[in-house]
């Protein structure tokens, strides 16, 4: 597997826009142009060469060694290939991805996978708020693809999400699935308060919700075929990253009845 490796020379003094560092975009450039790409976001016009020492040849993989919470827009519009970050990242990692794989071996900032339409985003650590969420000017949050977070996710995970799957090994903060239009959020250690506020459709799965909103109706325990399909689909597409298949039934809360109420919170415990 060929590819380029970028090693961070020192913690950056400003936020960096690394949207250009994807396999497809780098492969389209002459090798000499790569260190001259501007990644700075201030008047200093920092370039790739100023910030990183790089080696290798453009291919289907980009590796960034050395993380920082100032490394923004990593994997932006990725459509094929793999981007790996050996460390933490800033805001909007995996923004508008359409395919491929983004692997973050650290924590991620806000708006991880915002506008995601396809591909897989994997975070070894935790993620800040608005995972798969809507940014200003967006019509929706994520519309496809899969996000797996080994740690916790912040507030408003899946804000106005339309399709796709978010798996959180840890816990989601407040207002997960807020204004959600579809898709699935599966938090293996549960959800914070106001979960599903104003959600129209979609599915939230977890062992507990800190405080269930009064606008969700308890429909009782059910053995849902769709959860079997979901478990098998995730096992087939994610392999060892997939959540453990559910056994037995779930308790279904339908809502948010402050809207059309076609969403659901499924309590696994």
């Amino acid at each position: 597997m060929s590819g380029l490796t970028f090693r961070l020379r020192a913690p950056p003094d400003e936020r960096l826009d690394l949207s250009q560092l994807t396999p497809g975009r780098l492969a389209a450039l002459p090798a000499a142009e790569i260190p001259r790409l501007v990644v700075g976001t201030s008047k200093s016009k920092l370039t790739v060469g100023d910030v990183f020492a790089h080696k290798g040849q453009a291919g289907d993989r980009v590796t960034i060694v050395g993380g920082s919470s100032r490394l923004d827009f990593i994997g932006d519009e990725l459509d094929q290939g793999t981007v790996v970050v050996d460390g933490e990242v800033g805001i909007c990692a995996g923004r508008s991805m359409r395919g491929g794989r983004l692997e973050i071996r650290g924590d991620a900032g806000a708006w991880l996978a915002s506008g995601l339409a396809g591909g897989v985003v994997f975070v070894k650590g935790s993620a800040a708020g608005y995972v798969g969420g809507q940014r200003a000017g967006d019509k929706f949050g994520m519309t496809g693809g899969t996000v797996v977070i080994e740690g916790d996710a912040g507030d408003r995970t899946g804000e106005r999400m339309r399709r796709g799957t978010i798996i959180v090994r840890g816990r989601c903060g407040a207002c997960a699935g807020s204004r959600m239009l579809g898709g699935t959020i599966w938090a293996e250690r549960g959800f914070g308060p106001a979960t599903g506020v104003l959600m129209r459709r979609g599915t939230l799965i977890g062992p507990a919700v800190e405080t269930m909103l009064p606008t969700f109706a308890d429909t009782g325990r059910h053995d849902l075929v769709i959860l079997r399909i979901l478990s098998r689909y995730l096992a087939a597409t994610l392999g060892p990253l997939a959540p453990r298949a559910l056994s037995g039934g779930v308790r279904k809360f339908a809502g948010d009845l402050a809207t059309i109420g076609k969403g659901e919170i499924l309590i696994t415990a």
């Binding site: 496809g144 399709r163 799957t165 579809g182 699935t184 459709r201 599915t203 059910h222 053995d223 849902l224 075929v225 769709i226 079997r228 399909i229 979901l230 478990s231 098998r232 689909y233 597409t237 076609k262």
Partner: protein
């Protein structure tokens, strides 16, 4: 030509190009998956009178189905994708949606699609919801025992084959039936094929046309033993009955494999049960695109 004492006619089965789709039906148990599949396959013997030819391809193990429950694959054959669409909608809506614990998924992997859950979902009266996973969209329709899950579309192919056949002739009607049953059982092991007639066996082979207006087909008098001597019969003096196995397949290769499996069983076990001759139905080779010569398919 004789094999194990059974005469093999130097003739061929003539079959036609058809469109085909399929579904995978699952349920809490194999019994109930089979029940829904059998119900859906009812009144699906001949495309001319039934609108579609429908039958069970095979049973599926839990690990082979989308939801990990026991399943059955049903295939439907028709004149065109447009003709199959209402058949699929009605049969799923009336026979699968209604069956306890059932779910229904696409059973043919093809780029061209026809509606599967697009009609039955409206039974949910606005309470139905959908979930897209990968390329598939699943409808969840609330019903009295939980939810009926049905995939939105099913694949359809236009290069399927309908009308592969084997005629079994002999001097013992019960023995013929047992031999035909064994032939159908052999075909059941061939993937991508169905035998749409009752138990896979036809006793009313037909010819094209009739003396009566409006009848597009009528009894194949040349193969009716009670008409021997009255018509230009194809039957020898010792033949007391003729049974036919009709085969539809998703491909010409599948139909040929099914005929081969049936012929092997018939020539290996038929003589002891009164089978004296094997033939095949055709229209002189002028109507169907697919010809399966019996002697080339012998074991």
């Amino acid at each position: 030509m004789k094999v194990n004492g059974i005469a093999i006619d130097d003739t061929f089965a003539e079959a036609f190009g058809m469109s085909a789709t399929g579904v995978v039906i699952t349920a809490d148990s194999a019994r109930w998956a089979r029940q829904a599949a059998v119900t859906m396959s009812g009144f699906g013997t001949s495309v001319i009178g039934c609108g579609a030819e429908v039958g069970i391809d095979r049973e599926l193990k839990p690990e082979e189905t989308p939801d990990g429950r026991p399943g059955v694959r049903v295939l439907l054959f028709g004149f065109s994708p447009d003709a199959l669409a209402p058949q699929l909608k009605n049969r799923v809506g009336q026979c699968v949606l209604t069956s306890p614990g059932s779910a229904c998924y696409s059973g043919v992997d093809a780029k061209k699609r026809i509606g599967l859950g697009q009609g039955p979902r409206f039974f949910g009266d606005g309470f139905q919801t959908a979930k897209r996973l990968g390329k598939s969209r699943y409808w969840r329709v609330p019903v009295m025992d939980g939810e009926f899950v049905v995939e939105e579309t099913s694949g359809v192919v236009t290069d399927a084959v309908g009308g592969g056949n084997v005629l079994i002739l002999g001097n013992d009607r019960a023995g013929l039936l047992a031999t035909a049953e064994a032939g159908v059982a052999a075909i059941a092991a061939v993937p991508d094929t169905i035998t749409p007639f009752p138990g896979g066996i036809v006793r009313s082979g037909s010819k094209v046309g009739s003396k009566y207006k409006g009848m597009v087909a009528s009894t194949n008098d040349a193969f009716c033993p009670t008409l021997r001597g009255r018509v230009k019969s194809e039957l020898g003096p010792d033949t007391v009955a003729v049974l036919e196995i009709v085969i539809d397949g998703l491909s010409s290769e599948a139909v040929a494999a099914a005929m081969k499996a049936a012929l092997k069983t018939i020539v290996e076990t038929g003589a002891a049960k009164g089978v004296t001759r094997v033939s095949a139905g055709n229209y002189g080779g002028k109507l169907g695109q697919h010809h399966y010569h019996l002697r080339k398919l012998l074991p």
